[in-house]
């Protein structure tokens, strides 16, 4: 555990030492703020004291920004060879992967914490459903975790960061959209199956404030399988080349 935390601290520091963290925070806050408060289907148009608009926009902005954070995690270490430094220290591959996951997740958590003024503003505008908002934030955090673990897995496949970025988007798109579309065009068992593996339905129910064991189970199994696959790829890499 200690080794994970040491590497996590180093990773977070390197996000803030480079421009990645700042660009991500500014873009995320800019996009979500713009579409939540200023443009189109915004809160004032909806006229309800809820953050649903923000949550549905964040659902997409995070989808695009997280691959940008995760693409370098393992790929860069492979490319520069520093993975050899890391894995010959007293830290296991699974710990390396977990630390990188935690660091990226904390960066997203910071981004989400910076949107707390939205919550305060909305709660002053009218009666808000606090449960739904807490659920919404929890949901965003969980889908971020899912994207991050997919991203780290993609990053462990290729040394090339661009490939890792596109691969993350490609894999995540299935869970984000395609499985949902398939489920809508099917009936019976298949529809239920695709509905279950799609992120959309789970995020939908959590952001309504309904915290169901099945949803939590879904997100955590997605996260763990992503990390296990990444660990598998990383260990296999050091076996082969």
């Amino acid at each position: 555990m200690n080794a994970i935390w040491i590497l996590t601290k180093k990773e977070i520091k390197s996000y803030f030492d480079s421009l990645i963290a700042y660009i991500l925070l500014i873009l995320f806050l800019g996009f979500s703020g713009f579409f939540t408060w200023l443009y189109g289907n915004d809160i004032f148009l909806v006229g309800q004291a809820s953050l649903n608009v923000f949550f549905s926009w964040s659902f997409w902005t995070l989808f695009f920004f997280i691959p940008g954070i995760t693409m370098r995690t393992v790929a860069e270490e492979m490319h520069s060879g520093t993975i050899e430094i890391l894995s010959t220290k007293a830290i296991s591959n699974m710990q390396i992967i977990s630390a990188k996951f935690l660091a990226a997740w904390m960066l997203v958590l910071i981004a989400l914490l910076l949107t707390l003024p939205y919550y305060i503003t909305v709660s002053r505008l009218g009666d808000v459903d606090h449960g739904a908002i807490i659920g919404g934030y929890l949901g965003l955090l969980l889908i971020s975790g899912t994207y991050i673990s997919i991203g780290i897995f993609a990053s462990s496949i290729s040394r090339n960061q661009i490939v890792a970025f596109l691969l993350t988007l490609f894999i995540a798109l299935f869970f984000q959209l395609i499985f949902d579309l398939i489920a809508r065009n099917m009936t019976g068992g298949m529809a239920a199956f695709f509905n279950f593996i799609s992120l959309n339905s789970h995020f939908g129910s959590i952001s309504r404030g309904v915290i169901d064991f099945r949803d939590i189970f879904y997100f955590f199994s997605m996260i763990f399988s992503g990390l296990l696959l990444a660990n598998f790829m990383l260990s296999k890499k050091s076996l082969i080349d």
Binding site: A3, I6, L7, K10, K13, S14, D17, S18, S80, G81, T82, E84, I85, L86, S87, T88, K89, A90, I91, S92, S238, L239, I240, D241
Partner: protein
């Protein structure tokens, strides 16, 4: 005139912007400088530990047993076995692609072997790699580093991973920085360093937790001659206290630093002995270069020379200058006999030099593809 004015205005604006940027930048520099200075003060104030305090007597022998590594149906190393005894400096020699790095990567737990084992005190290192990694310091080939980290931050990070006690970390880092000779450059980012200094950072990270065994993969590759000498000196000093496995394809390096040499070719060990023994092995006889001045002809001189019993073979390099290359079974007695002969015959000896068989020749002989 108007043009000029507008131009000036534009320039002023630019200048103004530039000034703001400059102001912020200088502020940033000042803060950074202050931070570094603060760190520096805390370093210099901390009590200095003697380097490698509380040395234990290590007795760790690493057994490499039948190590084989197969990359895509090609055997990178093929059933390599040897023992790394504690306290020795073992040079791992071989042409590029012979399997030196692969062996070192396996010993440092970066790779798993296809078959075979590495054991310490009868226990396989792959059963508990995390514990074993604490005992070794590894400098990978090409010395990969996090270029955007500061030297101090990087070493602190590695020290934390390698479980150096927190209260000793700062003292240990400043000690190791002095030891590898990074003193003047210590407040820089790693990316700003020259190659020789980067190599020192690589050595520092391998040494930070005071490991029993050092595994150095081509520690001097790509350095200039001065840097090579400096790094070699460092390794030599380290060799007094630690077990070192060092790979290289530079022969002078092993001659200068190693107690024992293993030559590896195409994944197999072709020689395992000391530098001196290898010399002996190659010298089935020594070569003597001889130049004489005599009134006799070349043929006559040759006839007389051949009568010395220890001389096996004789070749004339230049018959005008009477320059010979003499192969003899025993250099000492041949030289003495030659000298006596010159006195007896009234010849002048202009040159007599014994040319040593170099490690290069042994190396080439052993690793030549045939």
């Amino acid at each position: 005139m108007i043009h000029k004015n507008s131009f000036n205005k534009k320039n002023d604006l630019k200048h103004h912007n530039f000034c703001t940027v400059k102001m912020f930048y200088s502020l940033y520099l000042r803060i950074n400088c202050w931070r570094r200075l603060h760190l520096f003060n805390s370093l210099t104030k901390s009590p200095k530990l003697p380097i490698f305090a509380n040395r234990k007597i290590y007795s760790m022998e690493i057994n490499i047993e039948n190590l084989t590594k197969i990359y895509r149906e090609q055997k990178a190393i093929n059933a390599i076995s040897f023992q790394l005894n504690s306290g020795e400096v073992l040079g791992f020699l071989g042409p590029n692609g012979a399997g030196k790095s692969t062996t070192m990567k396996i010993i440092s737990c970066f790779m798993a072997p296809s078959s075979g084992n590495v054991t310490v005190d009868g226990k396989s290192i792959f059963d508990d790699p995390e514990a074993f990694k604490l005992k070794i310091g590894y400098l990978p080939e090409n010395n990969p580093l996090y270029l955007d980290m500061y030297i101090h931050d990087y070493l602190a990070f590695i020290a934390a991973l390698q479980k150096v006690p927190k209260d000793k970390t700062i003292a240990r880092i400043s000690e190791i920085i002095e030891y590898v000779g990074l003193g003047d450059e210590q407040h820089k980012k790693i990316g700003e360093l020259s190659k020789g200094y980067k190599q020192r950072v690589g050595l520092a990270q391998a040494l930070i937790h005071d490991p029993e065994v050092l595994i150095l993969d081509e520690p001097t590759s790509g350095l200039d001659p001065n840097q090579i000498v400096e790094i070699r000196e460092l390794i030599k000093n380290l060799g007094k206290e630690k077990t070192i496995l060092l790979s290289t394809h530079i022969l002078q390096e092993v001659e200068a630093t190693c107690d024992r040499i293993i030559i590896i070719n195409k994944g197999k060990i072709v020689a395992d002995s000391t530098p001196a023994a290898l010399h002996q092995q190659a010298q089935s006889g020594s070569l003597i270069r001889l130049q004489l001045e005599s009134k006799q002809t070349v043929d006559q001189v040759s006839m007389i020379l051949k009568e010395i019993p220890s001389i096996i073979d004789l070749s004339v390099l230049d018959d005008q200058k009477l320059l010979y290359q003499i192969q003899s079974s025993d250099a000492y007695s041949s030289k003495k006999a030659l000298f006596d002969l010159c006195v007896k015959q009234g010849w002048y000896m202009l040159e007599m030099k014994e040319s040593e068989t170099k490690l290069e020749d042994i190396f080439r002989k052993l690793t030549a593809s045939n």
